[in-house]
Amino acid sequence: MTQVLPRDCWRRVGTSAALALIALSLGSPILAADEEARPLYNLKEAPESIRDLLAIQKALQRSLPRTRKATVSIDMGGGSGSGVIVSKEGIVLTAAHVSGGVGKKLTVIMEDGTKHKATSLGLVAETDAAMLKIEEEGSYPYVEIDKEDTALMGDWVFALGHSGGFNKERGVGVRIGRMVRWADQTIQTDCNLIGGDSGGPLFDLKGRLIGIHSRVGASLEQNMHVPIRVFLRHWEKMEASEFIGEGPFAKKPVAFLGVGTEDREEGGVEVKVVGKETAAEEAGVKVGDAILEIDGKEVESKEEFSAGIKELKPGTKVKLKILRDDEEIEIEVELGEK
């Protein structure tokens, strides 16, 4: 029996050695114990008979009711993705390009059509991982996570998702496949994904969550998922609504004051333009104002001034010391978002 072992051969081998010791002392066959850990359909290189196929079908069908209930469509307003509930309290895992940022308001739709309001928590921008929380308190259906990270290349898996958006008559779509490529931050399977599946769950046949759908290539075989280990690694920071890393899947919001300035010979910068409906206008900054200090720090040039603003988060309050009509005043501005 050959098994394709992608990464932690050492772990399996190590386990077997330990089991052998126990097995010997108990006098029971080692194979039985090993099979229990990994189902036979994943130990075989490929199914060999109708019986093997039935074993796969049985395992899949046993896992479907539970996993379907916890798989949701996510309405981003102007687009839709998928997600999966992973705790009774309503923590939802999805893709970063679905949640779109931190603190975003989204709608989560269950397979039966029930809608819940949700807010996006943290995300990992470089790997396409994100977390949401359903706002209403409740007891939600949820799935088990493969915390031990047991999925291996060649394993039989299934993908769920609301392909092309929510469709109550159709329900959640399920697709079968195998793990065909594995890397630390990406899983590739031959479960065919399409727009709307993004953020949906990838399961092993026991119904344990092993990944989240992210993207596809041109060929049908290129279906990419974020491995669950990426979520586990960043779990606490995501729960704390952190925007983690930089990358293609989410853009960090940039703070925005809303003024156009020019350097002043006497120091500071002069406000030449105040944008409509910007933080600056709201706080009462006016054309002709000279900004001398920001949070007690002297302003030296317009480049330095705008770079300093961009480093801050939207919503940050800054104090500006302004010279207006030969009088120094202080204005507090809550920065907006670009």
Partner: protein, 347 residues
């Protein structure tokens, strides 16, 4: 694109050596792939489905136009009646069929139904092996299903997948035949007027114009879109509808030939279609379908969909997109076939 942690792997290798175990296969480095023959539709995986391939070998048909295979078919009687996907064969000039290894040059299109996009074919044969329709109700999500994949002249191959969504109606009951007009509804006045006439449609040929007010169709008064849909329901391409319209102060009556919807109105290509490869021309407006995830090509619809018992649970009717294929459920087939079969007066 993919990060590799080499240190962990080399450590893993050294550990293996320490354990002194012989490896049946070299450990795969991150980034290596599962070989193609082991994947879902790979040759080794397909071998497990051999008993079902053997059934498809006998009870599915390959439909050709000259040398080119254009569709598959389902053998429904031992004396040579087959069903296939109608819209894929309608332009065929030299229709011929192969069942198992036998080639049939003379193929008669007995009847078609635009409602289900099914055509009934007849070849001169006896002792063909027919499909065994499944009568246990529609298969559940996750049930293995098997369909015809690419084929050679002598050997059928399988493609495999699972039932992947609820059985249902698709397309919201739109009539599969059209006049070729778009409409403006005036709810207050309860009237319907033509806002556009499609090129190459029956409406264009009949001389209908934008602005024409529709008064009646086949003697039935028309006030809203639903009235018109009712007149069109059950009609086949080539049928005519008598329209009475008002243009300015003038009333006139025209005969409009009905044509198939997908020939007149082009589907808007969505972003999801763009990532789907080739899909069937007719892929919507079916009263009831099973959905599965077998990656068929647009030319491999029309054949049987088998479960692991070898029973036929449906007839593949459309490749829809990258992850969806539709089949007509077996339960719908007896009625469809009965409607298509020639009526005889024999006792």
């Amino acid at each position: 694109m993919m990060k590799r942690s080499k240190s962990k792997l080399s450590w893993a290798r050294s550990r293996l050596v320490v354990c002194g175990l012989a490896l049946t296969c070299a450990p795969l480095a991150q980034g290596q792939q599962l070989e193609a023959h082991l994947r879902l539709s790979g040759s080794t995986t397909r071998e497990a489905f051999e008993p079902l391939r053997a059934i498809l070998q006998q009870c599915s048909a390959v439909v050709y136009d000259g040398w080119k295979s254009i569709s598959f078919g389902v053998v429904i009687t031992s004396d040579g009646y087959l069903v296939t996907k109608a819209s894929e064969i309608e332009d065929a000039k030299e229709l011929n069929v192969r069942v198992d290894k036998t080639h049939f040059k003379n193929v008669r299109v007995v009847a078609t139904t635009v409602e289900w996009d099914v055509a009934l074919l007849k070849v001169e044969a006896k002792d063909l092996v027919t499909v065994e329709w499944d009568t246990d109700g529609e298969p559940d999500h996750g049930t293995w299903v098997v369909a015809n994949g690419s084929t050679s002249r002598t050997r059928r191959r399988v493609r495999v997948g699972i039932i992947s969504a609820n059985a249902r109606e698709v397309g919201g009951g739109k009539a599969p035949v059209v006049l070729g007009i778009t409409l403006d509804t005036n709810k207050k006045a309860g009237t319907l007027s033509i806002s556009g006439v499609e090129e190459d449609s029956g409406a264009a040929d009949a001389g209908l114009e934008e602005g024409d007010l529709i008064l009646s169709a086949n003697e039935q008064e028309i006030g809203k879109i639903e009235d018109l849909q009712e007149v069109l329901s059950g009609k086949e391409p080539g049928d005519h509808v008598k329209l009475r319209v008002k243009r300015g102060d003038e009333e006139m009556e025209v005969e409009v030939e009905l044509r198939t919807r997908e020939k007149i109105f082009e589907d808007e290509r969505s972003r999801n279609d763009a990532m789907s490869g080739r899909y069937s021309k007719r892929r919507s407006n079916f009263k009831r379908i099973l959905q599965h995830d077998i990656a068929l090509s647009e030319r491999s619809a029309g054949g049987p969909l088998l479960n692991l018992d070898g029973k036929c649970v449906g007839m593949n009717i459309a490749r829809v997109n990258r992850c969806e294929t539709f089949a007509i459920p077996a339960g719908e087939m007896p009625e469809i076939i009965e409607d298509l079969m020639p009526k005889t007066n024999d006792p």
